[in-house]
Symmetry: C2
Subunit: 335 residues, 2 copies
């Protein structure tokens, strides 16, 4: 049976102080979900709920709710549903990546094997959709189902294009919009939707979520290339090892001469740790990392502009602060 | 890209003549779903939709609709959703079982690997739930999500109890009610629900689906033990090889003396092909197969009694005929 895990050991990366109390309530509600399952299955569910997910999507839903009229039980439920979908996708990701550890704890697939983990992810996802169907308005179920479909479709598209040096920047952006930004934007859009007076802000908050999610993924991609393992708290260089082409490398390929391109391609195809370090160095030297960082920073400016029409509130300020926090993280990728 | 597959090559096992035209329409609608995906993903979706699923659940939904007021587009949509969920579960089952072939065609995992197949199953499932959310009434989404959760939970419980000789008959029945009967009963219950005048029959048709699904799984379990591979058209003896204890064996264990039990247990744990043949012989000799067949036949009598309150209609007769057809198949397990 699962070992105890200290939740406090892994605080959210983002400045979510304003909703920390609310996130804690949602945290408890996520852990309570385990009780909705057969006693023989409870242990699996509570283990993965405790050991995966940074609660970014719940925090965004709670902040967007607060910024558009207030946080109700419906927002808390939306937050739980989004995180369950995210946890389900992490359980399946870990199977696909053959990952042994997530945030220092053994993954479900490492503990119980792939067969059980496939089913566990499915069951969590089905449970999330079951919760979503409790809303009278089927728009919530629909948004969750579509965002989930986008997450999977984005992952498949990415898997298909591994080691494919013909991937374009716009194809890459479409993939990350699906695999990462879809759940961010579902969080902020649906949170506005759940407040009758907030519906007018749905489109703007959907955009905010999309831009923030895209910038977040680009940051994560840059970090994987140039980050320091100790401060990042995770293994880096894994994208390249798996043949994933990320924005800095796509920019590097784009700007290279024919001769340079052939040299870079060899290192990308090899994907050895040393190649990663050298490619990071070349990408830095050629200005490609700067270009990726700048692209993400522009996304964050757009995300902030999506907040303009919202009435002033502490939650609006927090949504703004999140973009500024991510902006600072992006600066560190330049060093 | 997927090879063409002759749909007609694998007709439904059940006597669905009455709704063959309707099932064909649903068949087309299932194949049309592929177009709801990115062009790069269409091929995967259409391959698994063409090569998996016997359309039993769609046929049941259409017959139950016809028997409770008539078949509408809502029933056709329900039929598509149920089959997509079933196909998604087959894609994941084949990963877990390491299956290379399904109905003579390579499985998705054999063609494209496990990583892509995990995502493909997830995406189909999310798409099914997306379609379900198009119903104004969230009861449909809820029923689909819950049935899906049951299917996964039943599979996990079964996986947990592999090679476990302490499994009881009632635990076994609970597992198959979840993993198989849940989608059967969702098909018949929700079909009645979609006809305003049919809602009074929801409970009876839910029971019908549960009993039919349970009897079907017991038939499948008996076939795996005593069937002829050629006439069954699939590899047999796989349950035991995987450590799955099915009803005939549970009855055999139940009725055995201490000494006999120890002998049987050894063969079950070994699970070699010869052990399967010998266990089948012993189960036949000891009357355990007869007992399992009789149990399933009683389920079918109960299923028929659930139809009594329905007004006479060709579809009601067809639902009755299905139970009689399965009854005849069960007779063959006695030979």
């Amino acid at each position: 049976m699962p070992a105890a895990i200290d939740l406090q050991a892994a605080p959210p990366e983002f400045p979510f102080e304003l909703v920390r109390g609310e996130v804690q309530k949602v945290e408890q509600a996520i852990l309570d979900q385990a009780r909705a399952f057969d006693p023989a299955l409870e242990g699996y569910v509570s283990y993965v709920c405790k050991s995966s997910g940074k609660r970014i999507r719940p925090a965004l839903a709670l902040l967007a709710g607060g910024a558009t009229g207030g946080v109700s039980d419906d927002h808390r439920k939306l937050a739980v549903i989004l995180e369950l979908v995210h946890i389900a996708s992490l359980v399946h990701d870990d199977i696909m990546d053959g990952a042994e550890l997530r945030r220092g704890a053994p993954t479900a697939s490492a503990k119980w094997g792939n067969a059980l983990s496939v089913l566990l992810g499915d069951m969590l996802f089905a449970h999330a959709l079951d919760l979503a169907s409790e809303f009278d308005d089927s728009a919530v179920s629909r948004a969750i189902a579509r965002a989930s479909k986008d997450v999977c479709a984005g992952e498949i598209l990415q898997t298909q294009r591994r080691h494919d040096l013909t991937l374009t920047v716009s194809e890459y952006l479409r993939v990350i919009e699906m695999k990462t930004a879809a759940l961010f934007s579902a969080a902020t859009e649906m949170a506005a939707y759940l407040n009758p007076e907030g519906r007018v802000h749905c489109a703007a908050l959907k955009n905010y979520g999309t831009k923030l999610g895209t910038a977040y993924q680009i940051y994560d991609d840059c970090l994987d290339l140039v980050g320091n393992e100790q401060s990042a708290g995770k293994t880096l260089g894994t994208d390249l090892a798996k043949g994933k082409l990320t924005l800095p490398l796509l920019y590097l390929l784009e700007s290279a001469t024919e001769v340079q391109r052939s040299k870079i391609s060899k290192r990308i195809v090899n994907g050895e740790p040393m190649d990663t370090s050298i490619l990071a160095g070349i990408a830095d030297y050629a200005g490609s990392i700067e270009r990726a960082v700048q692209f993400a920073k522009n996304m964050l400016i757009e995300a902030r502009s999506d907040l303009i029409a919202l009435a002033a509130s502490p939650e609006k300020s927090a949504l703004d602060q999140i973009t500024r926090y991510l902006d600072k993280l992006l600066d560190k990728c330049r060093a």
